[in-house]
Symmetry: C2
Subunit: 175 residues, 2 copies
C-alpha cells in the first residue's frame, strides 16, 4: 500500500513553515510522496529535497496546481481518498475499516478554506478529535494509526546521517 | 495525572503559527496548560484563550521567561519532566514505563536551539521517530501514546460550539 499526501492551497511565505512541517511529517510517518496545490514554492521543495538527500529513502515533492484533477486522476487509478477535517468521522471509529483496504491512499490536508467538493470526492472524511488544532498533528496521528505504530521504526535507506538514540545528549552518525 | 507543556524559545511573529499549533495541539490532546518562554506574545495568548472560550474546558496559557526556573520548580513539586527531541530514546520503547508512573508530567518541546542543560534536567529524553519533522507532530504523537488514544474521545465542558461528526460536509452545533 502506497500513501501520498495532498496539501491544498499552500500560500507562499505565509504557509512556509507549516507546509514544511506537513511535508516532513508525511515523510517521517511513512508517506512516499507529497503533492501540493496553491502557490508554487521552489525554496520549500528544495528544503524537503535536502532533507531527503541527507536523511535517506526516496520521497517526492510535486506541485500540481489543479488539485481537483489530481484527486480525480488518483481515483481513476483505483486509489482511495481520505480527507482529514475536524468535521469528519472520528479516526478511532473508522480506522479499522480504512486499514483493512489495501488500496493506495491519498491523504488530503487542507489549507485555509477547503472547497465543499473535497468532502464529496473523498471516500472518507476523518477527524482527529473534533477540536481545532493543527493539520500537522492530524496528519501525524492519522498516519500513525494507519500504520499501527510500525512507521515509528521505519528505516530510511541510503541516509548520509543517522541519529543514534541516547538517554541524554546527542549522537549523530555519519554513514 | 496532570500534563503541562513547556514550549521553549518562542520568537515573536516568526514562530506565531507553529507555536499556536503547539498550544492547540496540547489542548486538544489532553494537556491542561502550556507555559512558554522566549519572547512574550499577547496576541498568541489571546488567540488560545478565544479558542478555549468557544470550544470549552479549562486550559491555561502562561508566559514564564525563566524556563530553567520553571523546570526546576516543577521538579521540586515532584513532577516528572519529559523532553521531546529527535536525539532521545524511541517513544515506542519507553512509553510503557512512562505510562506506569502517575506523577504529573511536564512535556518540553524545543524552539530553534535547545540548551544542553534541558537534556540533563529531563528524566526522559524521548524521540518520535529519529527523523526531522515537527515539534507539533512529536507532541501529538507523544500525548496520544501517553493517554493511550483515550484523549481522542475527550469531552470539553462548557463549550459554546461543538462539531457533530459527519460522513460528508459540516455540522457545528451551537450549545
Amino acid at each position: 500500500m502506497e500513501v501520498v499526501v495532498l496539501r491544498l492551497g499552500h500560500r507562499y511565505v505565509r504557509d512556509d513553515r507549516v507546509t514544511t512541517h506537513v511535508f516532513l511529517t508525511a515523510r517521517a510517518f511513512g508517506a512516499c510522496k507529497v503533492i501540493y496545490s496553491g502557490q508554487r514554492d521552489k525554496k520549500l521543495e528544495e528544503t524537503v529535497r535536502e532533507v531527503v538527500e541527507m536523511w535517506g529513502d526516496s520521497f517526492e515533492v510535486v506541485y500540481e496546481g489543479d488539485w481537483r484533477q489530481t484527486i480525480e486522476n488518483w481515483k481513476v487509478t483505483g486509489g482511495e481518498v481520505i480527507h482529514l477535517t475536524v468535521y469528519g468521522l472520528p479516526v478511532q471509529d473508522v480506522i479499522p475499516e480504512i486499514r483493512e483496504s489495501t488500496k493506495n491512499k491519498m491523504v488530503i490536508v487542507g489549507g485555509a478554506k477547503v472547497p465543499g467538493i473535497v468532502y464529496e470526492l473523498a471516500e472518507w472524511n476523518v477527524s482527529i478529535t473534533s477540536q481545532p488544532h493543527s493539520e500537522i498533528s492530524a496528519l501525524s496521528i492519522f498516519l500513525h494509526e494507519l500504520f499501527n505504530g510500525k512507521e515509528l521504526s521505519k528505516t530510511f535507506k541510503d541516509a548520509k546521517i543517522r541519529v543514534k538514540p541516547q538517554t541524554k545528549g546527542k549522537n549523530v552518525l555519519k554513514l
